[in-house]
């Protein structure tokens, strides 16, 4: 295992909405705007579909951070559902802190279908912020043992 | 050196064990009674809204959740500096009295009583509720079940649930009772009084009239001249729900009387590295180890302690029994542990009388059962008498009423030292030059039962009530005998 010698590369799971932020990612692509490879996106129809379970699942599965992203307030394809995502985000953050997960590991990003460049820039910024936080440390405060997924892969 | 492991709960039951060490002559040098677990309420209650404490601390013990519910509720009242309206107080105490009657009944008939009714020498198999039924008559069984049912019904009506009541909140309760419910509760209460009198009669017929049993009670094995603690009302009468904490010395004279909020000035808890449970003692007397006498801070908190610590009972019938109790046993204080059983029955009667007294108060059905707190929450202590001893809850909160610190001194804990002493004494007197007297088992068992220790409570950390199983191994590790007890 040479992991120890490698620099820490955060793994980030990003949830995007079908209409704005996912298209922003597409836009970044078609415009060939480069950004850090640490993020892996999941497409939802709307940021309102974001169930906190998904965020917990990502952290529990070994993600170092989670990005939630949707249409700008007022531009939601489904009228106002991104506001619900926003409300959940605010409560979610508070719970994560109580669970011993730094608030900096959860980010909410509004991106319109046209904002590929902004999307890319924000991801780069986020990756650096998470890199600075270091790996999600399960030792505090729960002292929970390490994730089983490791065996799955090495096996 | 020989070692006897009295493993009250084998690895299987796993809730505590006793180690007895003998010297080369085969006489007892030391005994250890260990409590093996910690759940950590003091830690994880921090950060919770204080109004949840009566619900969270319920889960310390499923045998007497009512006690924790009440102590917690009173602590939260204090935290909010709110005065519970009269009706609110009465409803809580009514629930509590019914619970007391139930709990004492269970203990006397299922656990403690058999020792006397059947006699200590009766085979273990017969020393149980069934044995009692056979001896006293079938209807007694029905009565006991009836009593338990009634008690649970009252708890359910006022507390909302049979186990883990949920209605007490800072400032009172979430609901009151209506006339219909009041009638039902009154009728059950009147029945409870008769039942209590019946029980006392049975006790005096079968036990007091029997010289052997009486000698057993007053015998020296079970005597410790310790301090005694109990909650008393304005007239220094026994009270379970409210009042001042009064401590009398081995001489029976008042040693100190303090308001719940001052408990920390008087109580400290000694720590031993070989158990998870702490040993409370009187701070200003000091910890002198597992010894009795007026120089040792060890005190007891049981029905007997409450009677010793008070000047009498607040209800007429119970008061009469109280006087009979002391005249029979030769005045205050009574140091003999087995007298706890009798004291328990006197409390049963008081609880039933108080039950009726409260439920017949014209204000009991008033809608004025809750006062909305207006002061900024800070810190508060709540003390009630749990059946197994004085129960103290102490919370600190921030200005939002979120708990920042918790201290709990739970019923049975008070008696951890005395129990340990009783074990040692029983061992001392019955293990001579390496010969383990068979009687040891019964004696230890009876000592335990007298205290009715509930280790679910005891450590607010231990799982469940403890099935006290004592196994004595000889030097080769072969089990000699087995005995057990549990508290509900």
């Amino acid at each position: 295992m040479t992991e120890e010698t490698k620099p820490f590369e955060p793994v980030i799971i990003g949830f995007t909405c079908n209409w704005c932020s996912y298209r922003a990612a597409d836009m970044a692509g078609t415009a060939r705007i480069k950004y850090a490879p640490n993020i892996r996106l999941i497409r939802l129809m709307c940021s309102g579909r974001l169930d906190p379970t998904f965020v917990f699942k990502a952290f529990a599965g070994g993600a170092d951070a989670v990005l939630i992203s949707g249409c700008h307030p007022g531009d939601c394809h489904y009228v106002e559902q991104n506001y619900k995502a926003m409300r959940r985000f605010h409560l979610l953050k508070r719970v994560l802190v109580q669970m011993g997960i730094e608030p900096g590991r959860l980010k909410l990003l509004w991106a319109s279908a046209a904002e590929g460049a902004i999307f890319a820039a924000e991801i780069n910024k986020f990756v650096e912020e998470v890199r600075a936080l270091g790996p999600l440390n399960w030792a505090k405060p729960g002292e929970l043992v390490s994730t089983p997924i490791m065996e799955e892969v090495t096996a | 050196m020989q070692r006897i492991t009295i493993d009250p709960i084998t690895r299987l039951e796993g809730h505590g064990k006793i180690e007895i060490f003998l010297n080369d002559q085969g006489n007892v040098t030391n005994t250890y009674f260990q409590i093996p677990e910690l759940r950590g309420f003091e830690r994880f209650c921090v950060g919770r809204p204080v109004e949840e404490m009566p619900l969270l601390t319920n889960r310390i013990c499923g045998v007497c959740p009512e006690a924790h519910h009440m102590a917690a509720a009173k602590a939260t009242d204090a935290v909010y500096h709110v005065e519970v309206p009269r009706t609110g107080k009465m409803l809580r105490e009514l629930l509590y009295s019914a619970f007391y009657a139930t709990d004492h009944t269970t203990h006397f008939y299922a656990l403690g009583g058999p020792d006397f009714i059947m006699g200590p020498d009766a085979p273990v198999a017969e020393r149980n509720i069934l044995g009692v039924i056979h001896k006293v008559g079938l209807e007694i069984g029905g009565k006991v079940i009836q009593m338990r049912k009634y008690g649970h019904t009252v708890v359910e009506i006022i507390g909302g649930r049979k186990v883990h009541p949920c209605t007490s909140i800072p400032g009172g309760l979430t609901k009151g009772i209506n006339e219909e419910q009041r009638k039902e509760i009154e009728q059950m209460g009147r029945w409870a009084i008769e039942f209590a009198q019946f029980s006392l009669k049975a006790f005096s017929d079968i036990v007091l009239s029997n010289k052997t049993y009486l000698d057993l009670i007053v015998g020296d094995i079970y005597t410790h001249k310790t301090y005694y603690m109990g909650l008393v009302d304005g007239n220094n009468k026994v009270n379970f729900y409210d009042g001042m904490v009064r401590v009398v010395g081995p001489d029976g004279k008042e040693y100190v009387k303090y308001a719940p909020k001052d408990y920390a000035a008087h109580i400290a808890e000694h720590v031993e590295p070989w158990t998870y449970l702490k040993f409370p003692y009187l701070k200003n007397v000091g910890w002198k180890g597992f010894v009795d006498g007026s120089d040792s801070g060890v005190y007891m908190a049981t029905p007997l302690s409450r009677l010793n610590a008070a000047d009498g009972m607040a209800t007429p019938l119970a008061q009469a029994e109280y006087e009979k109790f002391y005249s029979t046993l030769g005045g205050k204080p009574v140091h003999q542990r087995l007298a706890i059983h009798w004291a328990r029955l006197i409390e049963l009667l008081y609880a039933a009388e108080r039950w009726v007294e409260l439920v017949t108060d014209p204000e009991i059905t008033s809608p004025n059962y809750h006062a909305i707190p207006t002061a900024v929450p800070t810190e508060g202590v709540g003390i009630v008498e749990a059946p197994r001893g004085t129960l103290t809850h102490h919370y600190w909160t921030d200005e939002r009423g979120v708990v920042t610190k918790v201290n709990l001194i739970v019923g049975t804990t008070n008696n951890y030292a005395p129990i340990t002493m009783s074990i040692k004494k029983a061992a001392d007197s019955l293990i001579k030059n390496g010969n383990v007297n068979e009687g040891l088992l019964n004696m230890v068992e009876m000592a335990f039962r007298a205290y009715d220790p509930c280790f679910g409570c005891a450590t607010h950390s231990l799982p469940g009530q403890m099935p006290l199983e004592v196994t004595i191994y000889d030097a080769q590790g072969n089990p000699l005998n087995v005995l057990k007890q549990f508290c509900d």
Binding site: Y83, H90, K140 | E37, G40, L56, G62, K162, K283, F486
Partner: protein, 326 residues
Amino acid sequence: MSKPKFAMYWAASCGGCEIAVLNIHEKILDVDANFDVAFWPVAMDAKYKDVEAMEDGSILLTLWNGGIRNDENEHIAHLLRKKSKILVAFGSCACEGCIPGLANFSPVNEIVDTAFSTITTDNPDNIRPQSSFAMPEGNITIPTLYPVLRTLDQVEDVDYYMPGCPPESHQIAAVIDLVIQVLQGKAELPPKGATIGAGNSTVCDECPRKRNVKTIKEFGRIQLTHADPELCLLEQGIPCNGPATRSGCNARCATVGAQCIGCYGPAEGVVDYGARLISAFASVIDSNKPDEIDKILDGLVDPAGQFYRFNLAGSLLRSSKSAQKG
């Protein structure tokens, strides 16, 4: 022929589950009539060795209550699994950790430290209990606490779950009836892994309170509110866990004016109980302005405690990972 064997055991629990079983009163006789009680510490005398001696699978039904707090609890869980055909996680502790599971918020050493440094603790040498301690007379030992409290199914394979703190007596009676009917061939056992003795909706389903479309402008505290006895508590801003909590208790607490605290755990198929409440509460907050939303959320003084009161040991983030599947 001999009757099938029944067992009940407590681990890290308060004993309330045992009381709940005793509270089925005369029904307990049915148990006696249809089962041999092979092992039930609270009710009768049987020993570890007796159970070890039984052949595997010889106990038909074991009701297990209590979480797994130390090595001893786990040891017995494995033993009883081996000996039992049907192992039921009985009560909130066994199913999801219950209140003791809140300990999973903090490292175990913090828990011990707190207990041994309270204001009344006289502990000048800052002593901590040792799982093995050398006394002049010899070594004496006590079990070792685990870093986290685990649910039964995090250490052993569980056949059925029976939620509740404690399970309601009428539900216990119903389950006993079911098992007896199965024995008499009059009924089928539910599929493995099923939750028994509970509904598959949530508490609101049984709650008598009136309810409307929900919007929350402010969260309140039950002791500080003049709560309308007829109206849904959550609509009055009082954080009630009823909407996310499995039905089966007849909405006891809400019926007597107290908010549901969630002892029956998550509804059928829910992955993370707390997540359901986070999402539901947040969704009905009546504001689209970040700072106003935060102001409203300030009224919820202990979100994690509120949402995971009984379920922390079963949550995605605070359950024991080594036991967590996928």
